[in-house]
């Protein structure tokens, strides 16, 4: 885990902090949205910018999890390990999302970077105390948590009731929409086939087969392993099964 801050004067640190917030592309969607200049600065001073390489883990399920954080850039997965050693992906964290468990005991999931990722990380005790003093921050955190809950519950429906083909189609739709990629344009598949399987509650072979079927039906094009293009959104949406709509 590489931490960007080093030794510097208080003034230099403050300037770095301010510029950090000023150039932050996700402020509007993050929990720090709505914090005034002074409060924002106070808040930021308590955290650190952390950069994770692909594959690095921020916290482990069950650990005392000393930190929470806000994603600035990149993509992380939240996972839980099963007794048989397989892992289930519980969700993804994108820029603006919040990770970790404030006011709690142990971390409820393992948080791992899927791409190079940058976060604002806070010691949990410090974060908890600061939130207690700043209702507007707590409010943003509450909104984020409510959204995450809604999203998790929609995903429950997919896992409980959708067929393998529907899951894969739903996944592609969600990836394209979250990335804001238009139909016809190539969108990135950030996950490996194994990770897609872990996410969708399937096996790698089934994921592969269903992708092949979607390609053969001309709903999508798969130029390479890590990208896809929506050729026929209606067909894809149809294959996703009514779309009780996972999109937030």
């Amino acid at each position: 885990m590489y931490v960007e801050t080093g030794k510097m004067t208080a003034r230099a640190a403050a300037m770095a902090d301010i510029s950090s917030c000023a150039d932050c592309t996700i402020r509007s969607g993050a929990i720090c949205a709505g914090l005034g200049g002074d409060t924002l600065h106070e808040f930021f001073r308590r955290g650190r910018r952390v950069k994770l390489e692909r594959g690095q883990t921020l916290m482990w399920e069950g650990d005392a999890a000393p930190v929470v954080g806000s994603v600035r850039r990149g993509l992380l997965k939240l996972t839980s390990m099963l007794s048989d050693g397989r892992e289930q992906i519980l969700g993804l964290a994108l820029p603006g999302d919040f990770v970790g468990r404030p006011f709690g005991g142990r971390a409820t999931s393992t948080v791992t970077a899927l791409t190079e990722t940058s976060l604002c990380v806070f010691p949990r005790a410090v974060f908890d105390a600061f939130v207690a003093d700043h209702p507007e921050l707590q409010h943003e955190l509450l909104l984020h948590t409510l959204d995450a809950l809604d999203h998790a519950r929609r995903w429950m429906i997919l896992l409980a009731r959708k067929s393998a083909g529907e899951r894969v189609a739903s996944f592609l739709l969600e990836m394209a929409d979250r990335a804001g990629v238009a139909d016809g344009e190539p969108a990135e598949i950030v996950l490996s086939r194994q990770q897609m399987a872990d996410f969708l509650g399937l096996t790698i072979e089934t994921v592969s087969r269903k992708l092949t079927l979607l390609r053969q039906s001309r709903a999508v094009r798969l130029p390479d392993l890590k990208s896809f293009v929506i050729l026929n959104r209606a067909a894809l949406s149809d294959a996703a099964g009514g779309e009780d709509r996972l999109a937030a």
Copy 2:
């Protein structure tokens, strides 16, 4: 939907409110925990006590959902309807749990009473405003939401990875634990077989078969349709599959 309040003098209403809170058995676990006497009274004055009969619905998925509430007594289900008409139960709400979606647009699930239920219900706009003015209330709501999120994510694992037998066993364990019933003592199954199936992402036939197997293996006894007794917790826990532990 039967609303208990009628016309009464301000003083009588206030007394009713106070006694309502005083005799509330779930205060400690509800979002109103930690509200001081005056604030609690203020808060309570803004809501109403609502009683739902078994089967009555408090709000519908997708509706503008004008209310939120805190469960005092009884049991409700949160459901979402699939395009094919089947429903998936997203979660249960027990005394102390919070239902509805504050600060949001539409209700994200349908909320229906499974037993006779009593709630403190608030108009959403009123609730939102009151929460904004009372950080301690917002804090409690946040804690509840974080817990609900953790619970939903654990349930995702069950739906994504567990076999039918494991799901049914996990369900029985959770029911017994939530009701605080000791092994050997009869515990209530509040749901019908159909509702269990909707909850576990199975069909009614499969639920029935797996219950029969558990009975035959002497893990549980099923005196009648609506109750069960844990005879061998080790066996049941084993059948639940390692128990990556759904209990909070």
